[in-house]
Amino acid sequence: MDFSELSHQTEIRDSLDKILSEHCSQERLKEYDSDFKHDESLLSLLSSNGFLGLGLNEKYGGSGEDLYDLGILFERLGYHAAPLSLSGCLADVAQTIQKFSKVESCNKILGSIIAGEIYTSAILEPSNQDPENPITEAKIENNQVVITGTKYLSEIASIAKSILISASSIEGVLLVLVDTDQVKLTELTSTANTPLFKVELDSVKVGVESIIHEKGRGLEALKYLIQLNMVMRSYIALGVTEKMTSLIAGYTSEREQFGRVIGTFQAVSHRAADCFIELECLRLVNQQASINLNTNLDCENEALISKIWAGNACHKISYSAQHLHGGMGVDKDYVLWRYCLLAKECELINGSASQNIDRLGINITTNQ
């Protein structure tokens, strides 16, 4: 049993905080409130400092296959509300390829991701509650895959070189990498101004070599991708809620009413303490899930538990933070409001708490 971070992990956290706090000042974040929310200069800084290789094997130029390292990156991106959406690229595409693709594709794709090239995924579909069963269809004809269907909530797809698509075929689920210029993209405007896209595929044809996994392992790869995405999103949620909790502590320790600091009222300090408890639980279940996913490709229950805690923590801490800040909490000149929007996004994308409770309940009662 050892809950301590290794020294290199603490270093990752510290150097990320240094870079991100410089790059995510209020002034800079403001620029992205109405603009396309993607900070290219920050991305290249992360790349040149080796942070895009977190969780990737050294043989591809990464810093080692530990998903906890990658979790730290997402946590800190969340904490600083960084204008970068990288879970599709660094979690979904990079990690799934590392685990399921041949060495040649790993060499080619992972190397370019580490260098700062954007890839993304398009897994979720409108009104499909079960992403493990894609409605999008694929047919294999003459060494070509022909894909038709509609995906949505694909992150920063407009600047991605390729998009990893999940589709159902008679050979089972397939994960296929499709060039972005072969699909129709529509930008969706969302609550936190995250660049999310609808992706439409109308008989898109790619070579069978674009299927990223061995024959028959598509479902396994897709399950891994979905679980990893849940856990990494929960790390973003951890950073977001950690920041909100520290804002609560800071603000209520200074704001005076009735001649005293409001943090000295139990009604206030106890609500803050409840946020601290929620945060501690989320941190622990995330750690467990990411560590287990390192050695076991299927950790569905741990991933679900992580995302359930993330969904609940995002909801509870966000509203506590707004409430305890009073009007300041909703004032766009103060920092809190962006976190509240991010919290809602983390809470709902790729499985809400209630949806995941449902899934976990089925697994438990059928002894899975």
Binding site: D2, Y68, G263, S269, C281, L284, I308, I357, D358, T365
Partner: protein, 393 residues
């Protein structure tokens, strides 16, 4: 970072499981099913304690000089977890919290006579903290110990002295300096319950657990019964409470109950082709309990791991206490909902596996949110030590 038991620890868990199966005899089970023995104290209970002691299981993490095995707090936690899963009323306050305090701070007599006998399973303690007018504000306690001859004369009254009806000693908090500020005039004593000045009256509680009001009338104890320095008792109380809080929220019993309710629901037919566990709301309740247990397990493991490096963090100990105690109440409710009206039956011959445990657990759960330091004070501590907020008033 490594968040799992290692092979040796898993082996220990299995070994202990087998061991307890041999210890918990039908005679002991029968004794423990009688309300007056819910908390132990009967002859079979005492026999089992001594067997565990002589087999070397009590105090795995204790120093060898007391008869311990010097294993880590993790192994100690596994021991308590496994024994609590069996439903045996293991006196963990004696072995896990008072015992270590005496082993560390007691006089030569206390170390030799008391600490070693705790490890042999021969001695049980009651805890004398609360008084009629000192509960949450414990430092206002008035039971006094006055220097007399080569020892101290003790007078006063304590409330909620659980296990006093079969304890050998009371771990007693007294005021020894009436001039000093509240926290600075407190000293800890080991007080024998066979002294003629000791008496008690029972308090029967909602959970059918007996506790006691205890009275101390001119009890004279020698100097050797003082634990730690004179007037330095407050730090012993807070250290003891930190250890107590972790033991109180051990995840073993609630997980054991969850597993049993799950098995019961999976085998309870509600019609020709459906079991209780096929209902979607039942699945949701199970998922909620499971999600909560996972967090509790991790909180406890982390606490135990922190103890290994001897840096028990106040905020985290309070997180464990608040989260665990409030989760228990929620978990029992969710599980009782699953079994529905069946779970209010005290004699559930239809549901042998649960043995009316749900009906009893919910009645005993409420004491944990205020016992061992009320959750309001724990939240104050979390806000101050965890979030660096100003002291509440």
């Amino acid at each position: 970072m490594l968040i799992q038991l290692n092979q040796k620890q898993t082996k220990l868990q299995n070994e202990l499981q087998e061991y307890f199966e041999s210890i918990i005899t039908p005679e002991l089970k029968k004794e423990l099913s009688q309300p007056e023995h819910f908390e132990g104290g009967g002859p079979e209970f005492k026999k089992a304690m001594r067997t565990m002691g002589s087999d070397g299981w009590i105090g795995l993490s204790w120093k060898k000089e007391f008869g311990g095995k010097e294993l880590s707090p993790i192994e100690q936690y596994i021991f308590v977890e496994t024994v609590m899963r069996t439903g045996f009323p293991f006196p963990f306050l004696t072995t896990e919290s008072v015992g270590p305090m005496i082993a560390e701070h007691g006089s030569a007599w206390a170390k030799e006579e008391i600490a070693t006998k705790i490890l042999k399973g021969e001695i049980i303690f009651g805890i004398g903290y609360s008084e009629p007018n000192s509960g949450t504000d414990l430092a206002s306690l008035q039971t006094k110990a006055v220097k007399q001859g080569d020892g101290y004369l003790i007078n006063g009254q304590k409330m909620w002295t659980s296990l006093a009806n079969f304890s050998d000693y009371i771990w007693l908090a007294t005021r020894t300096d009436f001039e000093a500020k509240n926290h600075k005039g407190i000293s800890m004593f080991i007080v024998p319950t066979d002294d003629p000045g000791f008496s008690m009256s029972p308090i029967n509680t909602l959970g059918d657990v007996r506790t006691n009001a205890t009275f101390y009338d001119n009890i004279h104890v020698p100097e050797s019964h003082l634990v730690g320095e004179l007037n330095q008792g407050w730090s012993l109380i807070t250290s003891q409470l930190n250890l107590e809080r972790l033991a109180l929220v051990n995840h073993g019993p609630v997980e054991e109950l969850y597993k049993d309710v799950l098995i019961t629901a999976q085998s309870t037919k509600i019609n020709n082709d459906q079991c209780l566990s096929d209902l979607s709301w039942v699945k949701h309740n199970f998922a909620q309990v499971h999600t909560g247990i996972e967090a509790l397990k991790l909180i406890c493991w982390k606490q135990t791991w922190i103890m290994e490096s001897d840096q028990l963090n106040m905020a985290e100990a309070s997180v464990a206490k608040v989260y665990g105690s409030e989760f228990f109440i929620e978990a029992y409710r969710l599980m009782m909902e699953i079994m529905g009206e069946l779970s209010i039956l005290k004699n559930d011959s239809e549901l042998k596996i649960l043995n009316a445990r749900l009906e009893r657990m919910y009645r005993t759960a409420s004491i944990l949110t205020f016992g061992g330091g009320t959750n309001e004070v724990q939240r104050d501590i979390i806000a101050m030590a965890g979030l660096l907020m100003p002291r509440t008033r």
